[in-house]
């Protein structure tokens, strides 16, 4: 798989069009890596001149900040900013809404100002500009419901880009009862991904999965690696994994293109 690094670009004295921020989940988590690869396939198909930081990338510190460790967050942020600025990065794309939010909103006051886009926004750009064509009819008529990631939706008011991309698939897009600004969290945010939930009657991802099941979907589309894990677990819990698939929008587009 063709994945150039910033270091390689620099050695050649070149600057890529965009930096792909893979993120920790996208780099190490088995499920999330599939999303990463699907997105890279799309980038290569559309001939996007991109690069990753590779071994020079480190956690944005987002989850440390949400867990209350401001010190660790700022340490991570400043380390990353030093590298990003050294490479004179201007534009960043990421599949992780948490990295997206953190890089876009929380890095500037620490000295790192970049244009940051979510991968669904970038895919939409590629389609709109004609760089990605004939998306394909694989999902024509399929019932797809999109689960809004909190850090893309409410946190940054990006509601349309993921839906616009899904609409290009000619799928039958259905909305859950709680969607866009009132979407229910999958339960992973605020560092919950890394701990057991507090005592309650139910896990949040189960409640959200029930929201999704009410729409009677073939596919639950996600735009965040953590949401993907939570919804996948929810579908397994409901024993629906044979009839319903949980996929990231990047995976759906890559599949539709037979990539």
């Amino acid at each position: 798989m063709k994945v150039p690094t910033m270091a390689e670009y620099m050695a050649e004295g070149k600057q890529p069009e965009i930096l792909f921020w893979v993120g920790s989940a996208g780099s190490y988590d088995d499920r999330a890596k599939k999303i990463t690869k699907a997105f890279v396939k799309i980038l290569n198909k559309a001939n996007v001149d991109f690069a990753v930081l590779g071994q020079e990338e480190s956690s944005t510190g987002d989850v440390a900040k949400r867990a209350g460790n401001e010190f660790l967050f700022q340490m991570q942020a400043m380390m990353n900013i030093e590298i990003l600025n050294a490479y004179e990065v201007k534009r960043i794309v990421t599949c992780d809404p948490h990295s997206f939010n953190c890089l876009k909103n929380e890095y500037p006051s620490l000295g790192g100002t970049y244009e940051v886009v979510h991968h669904t926004q970038f895919i939409k750009e590629l389609i709109d500009s004609g760089r990605l064509q004939n998306v394909g009819d694989t999902y024509k008529g399929k019932r797809i419901t999109f689960h809004d990631p909190c850090y893309l939706g409410r946190a940054n008011k990006v509601y349309d880009a993921p839906r616009d991309v899904l609409n290009i698939l000619n799928a039958n897009l259905t909305e859950m009862k709680r969607y866009k600004s009132t979407a229910l969290c999958c339960g992973a945010g605020g560092a919950q991904m890394f701990k057991e939930p507090e005592k309650g009657d139910k896990d949040i991802n189960i409640l959200r999965t029930e929201d999704a099941l009410e729409t009677n979907p073939d596919i639950i589309a996600t735009g965040c690696p953590y949401c993907n894990t939570m919804m996948t677990d929810g579908i397994k819990f409901k024993e629906k994994e044979d009839s319903i698939i949980v996929q990231d929008i990047a995976e759906l587009i890559a599949n539709a293109q037979n990539l």
Partner: protein
């Protein structure tokens, strides 16, 4: 002797407004116990938000039924209060319905007619509100934090409204001169027959209704400080001073930035004395364990909260049975702030440590760690209150001052420190995915 009513009225007014002023001062003193935060930027956006959200009720109507009912009471309350101006002038100068002479019959009739219709609309709406709380028993009014005073408080306000609106209509109905003029008595004309035959009784009832009405309004004004109902005033500054940044953007602690920069600067001498002229700063406390550690906008938020529970009804943690309730976070903050305020009053203006704090004595760590930081509560609040920012400040205190994060989170943070990822993978393996199948 003939001036006795005027004097009595003036005294009543002075007492009512005076006591209210005293409470406003206390309120403002308490809010200023919070840390400074600059919210003076982008004034045009702030005015716009206040106009849309507080004045225009734009977020109330996200829930159409409650929103519509609320607008009826809100509009009724604001407009009928124009009448209070007339009452005050009449009371002070011994006139009777002075606006009738000033404005002329047509305008005055139109105004009073509007007030009467609104009064009936408010009465009906308030009864529906009461039914929602006490008969239909909507879930969000029954949560754990809504037992006791918060529940009574909600009902008392509704009773106040019923009494005030009824008095207004009775006052008009028993005012025989007003009824004879046949202007604006669109509703009260139907109550008028009760008083028609007995001029003396009508006069007594009219005067009694008039006095009790104005006294009731002054009592209501002073009740506000002790009630969740402060939102009728504070919703305006609260929406003006609300955060304008994207909801996902959490504040970067400046004190931490200074330390991190020092750590990362290879030339910095950590033992160096501060440059001349610069005072040695008190070591900053990270995060918040008590109300004084929060900023004044967060404290203003707590007084503005009217306990409607829209936040809690959208909170994923609360919906799945966890202890966290964003509304309770706001109520606890206010209760503790009041306690601190009383402590200061009792100790001649200084706070004497009472061995209590917002953390643990009011808000437990179990609540704080249940938050997913999803911003549903912030989005849901009709007056732009931000419970999430308080939760995050308190988490910061737990982690940075007490190292009291849940074990799994400590492991996660240890991994980030050592491997640059929340999992124990080697930094050097970060790009391995590209060659895996």
């Amino acid at each position: 002797m003939e001036y006795i009513p005027n004097i009595l009225f003036a005294l009543l007014l002075i007492a009512g407004v005076g006591y209210f002023t005293r409470n406003v001062k206390k309120l403002s003193r308490n809010i200023k116990l919070g840390k400074d935060v600059d919210r003076s930027d982008n004034k045009s956006q702030r005015w716009k938000n206040m106009g849309m959200i507080a004045l225009g009720q734009s977020k109330m109507v996200k829930r159409p039924i409650a929103g519509f009912l609320h607008i009826v009471v809100y509009v009724g309350f604001v407009i009928i209060n124009i009448e209070v101006l007339e009452i005050i002038i009449d009371g002070l100068f011994g006139t009777h319905r002075i606006f009738k002479d000033v404005l002329g019959n047509a305008i005055y009739g139109f105004l009073i007619g509007t007030f009467e219709i609104l009064a009936v609309a408010v009465l009906i709406t308030v009864i529906i509100f009461w039914l929602r709380r006490n008969v239909i028993k909507l879930k969000r009014f029954l949560s754990a934090e809504m037992k006791g005073w918060p529940k009574s408080d909600g009902n008392i306000i509704l009773y106040f409204e019923v009494v005030l609106m009824t008095l207004f209509l009775v006052m008009n109905a028993s005012d025989l001169k007003f009824q004879d003029a046949e202007i604006g008595n669109v509703i009260s004309q139907y109550l008028h027959p009760i008083f028609e035959g007995n001029i003396e009784m009508a006069h007594i009832v009219e005067r009694a209704a008039w006095w009790i009405h104005i006294a009731g309004i002054l009592i209501f004004l002073n009740y506000l400080y002790y009630s969740k109902h402060l939102h009728i005033l504070l919703a305006f500054p609260n929406t003006w001073y609300a955060n304008l940044n994207p909801k996902g953007q959490f504040v970067n602690d400046a004190s931490v930035t200074k330390e991190v920069k020092l750590m990362m600067d290879p030339n910095a001498d950590p033992f160096a004395a501060p440059p001349e002229g610069e005072e040695e700063e008190e070591p900053a406390k990270f995060g918040a364990s008590d109300v004084q550690d929060l900023n004044w906008v967060q404290l203003l938020n707590s007084y503005t909260c009217t306990e409607c529970g829209r936040c809690t009804s959208e909170c994923p943690a609360n919906l799945t049975g966890k202890k966290l309730s964003p509304r309770k976070i706001m109520m606890d903050t206010r209760d503790r702030l009041e306690e601190v305020g009383k402590n200061i009053d009792a100790n001649n203006g200084t706070f004497v440590d009472d061995g209590k704090s917002l953390l643990n004595d009011y808000i437990t760590t179990e609540e704080l760690w249940a938050c997913t930081s999803c911003n549903a509560c912030v989005e849901a609040c009709p007056v732009s209150i931000d419970p999430l920012s308080i939760i995050m400040e308190m988490r910061k205190y737990l982690v940075m001052e007490q190292s009291a994060a849940p074990t799994e989170l400590n492991v996660m943070m240890g991994n980030i420190e050592n491997n640059g990822a929340p999992w124990p993978y080697n930094q050097m393996d970060r790009l391995n995915w590209k060659d895996e199948n």
